[in-house]
Symmetry: C2
């Protein structure tokens, strides 16, 4: 029986699923972080650990080397767009056939479940994908320093920046901004926080911004939705397709950007990885 392996790997962890020819899930497994560009050896170990766990669950016994080598694998892993990273990973894995793409591509394929469409992945970061036929192209996803407009990290950083500008009198002080300043120990505390904050630290502020009726929070959210609308207008002009929003902020953007034709997500990044596994040559 041909088994299919799907891997969804990112900076915080790695998930594996083993399915049969009909897509029936036989086993699941988990592993550590898997960014194949920044930490390729650790990523390979995480992928193999998650694979062993999923195969053990599927087979009810430890998988043999033959079991692993006969797998058809689809991998959506962070860092797969870095030069040479996917090729090096392929050589380090035991699978007969493997298709390796970024986690963003796998998430988009899973959300679209085989259909053409535009995917807006709005989480800690932001990245967009357009699928037409057998072609998928990503836009954005450049990271918080130079991009990731509309992402959770972008929203949190914008709020802290606006709080500092408000202390200078360059923006109106509001209850939301005053609370942010108090929570961080004033302007100096915000500067200190920002010097070492990771994107996830900034993104932790995003839900409070999106849900707030404070005028400063609403202005930041309006800027974010306008930035995302600009990207989506560009993509719709390239390919007139409906938009599927995914990620932690996906439903908030879906509610805010009703001017775009939308389709709800049909599956997860692991579903997308299994689709990649079926295409693995």
């Amino acid at each position: 029986m041909q088994l299919f392996l799907g891997i969804d790997g990112g900076g915080t962890g790695c998930r594996a699923v083993v399915a049969d020819q009909d897509g029936f899930i036989l086993g699941r497994g988990f592993g550590g972080p898997a960014n194949i560009a920044s930490a390729p050896d650790a990523a390979r170990d995480s992928i193999l650990a998650a694979t062993h766990a999923a195969m053990s669950a599927a087979l009810g016994a430890k998988p043999s080397a033959q079991d692993l080598s006969s797998l058809r694998a689809g991998l959506g892993v962070a860092g797969a767009n870095a030069a040479g990273a996917a090729g090096r990973l392929r050589l380090a894995l035991p699978f007969a056939r493997a298709r390796i793409e970024t986690d963003a591509v796998a998430a988009a394929l899973g959300a679209l479940a085989g259909s053409d469409g535009i995917v807006a992945a709005m989480g800690t970061g932001s990245v967009f994908a357009v699928r037409q036929g057998d072609k998928i192209r990503c836009f954005g996803g450049w990271g918080l320093v130079l991009g990731d407009e509309g992402s959770g990290a972008w929203l949190g950083r914008a709020a802290l920046s606006r709080a500092l500008r408000a202390t200078d009198g360059l923006e109106g002080m509001t209850p939301f901004l005053a609370q942010l300043l108090q929570d961080h120990g004033g302007a100096a505390g915000i500067v200190s926080f920002a010097q070492s904050a990771l994107p996830t630290d900034f993104a932790a502020l995003a839900p409070s911004i999106v849900q707030s009726d404070d005028p400063a929070a609403q202005a930041i959210w309006a800027q974010a939705t306008a930035d995302v609308a600009t990207v989506l207008s560009h993509l719709v002009a390239l390919a007139p397709l409906p938009v599927t929003f995914i990620g932690g902020l996906g439903s908030s953007y879906a509610a805010a950007l009703t001017q775009f034709a939308q389709v709800a997500p049909k599956g997860s990044a692991l579903d997308g990885a299994l689709l990649l596994a079926r295409e693995a040559g």
Copy 2:
């Protein structure tokens, strides 16, 4: 004879000057980095090394403990606005009297040479100061992650961000942006550069942006000058005073923002530190 010590200390180094009652410079000295918030012990050592060198030049002999303790010192040092930093430094220095302010305050005082006015310090970072009578208040200077609009680092980062957006088709590709992409090994190279780039690394791109007649470079420069004009309009409304531009990009902004009444800088940050020394109580 009462001697006065001026110290100008920042992240890249520390300069000291010793002057007599009439402001005549008797000796100069140099030391290592002096950020009193992030590295207080190293900053104290740098300040003392620069002071010893300047005093040795002034006296023609090694200064005694008595020579040092009788100095009236003015210090403009990075990090002096962090909670507790100036107080800790004061206790660690041997000077009879010392006034400790940020390097931005000393630079503003030196540029204004005793006059009231607005100072726009446009270098790797950006910070603004308003002096009226014996009061000086700083605006901005929050650092690149959350602020520093119009700074050299802000300009360089904006150019790299725009180059990435151009590869996505969200901005027009221009010769300047194409050259940036080529210089960094394409979009992936820019993302990799940005992950570890310091503000000075981004700022190294600023002169090429300011001088360029490329439409993308000019658009970035127009945004930067508009941002700085917004800040200056706010400050002029608070205090109707002429603006003095200092820093590596100061003359470029002075030429671009002719709508503001301007006064040329009259002195350096070391001159400002000597003014602080005279006020040291």
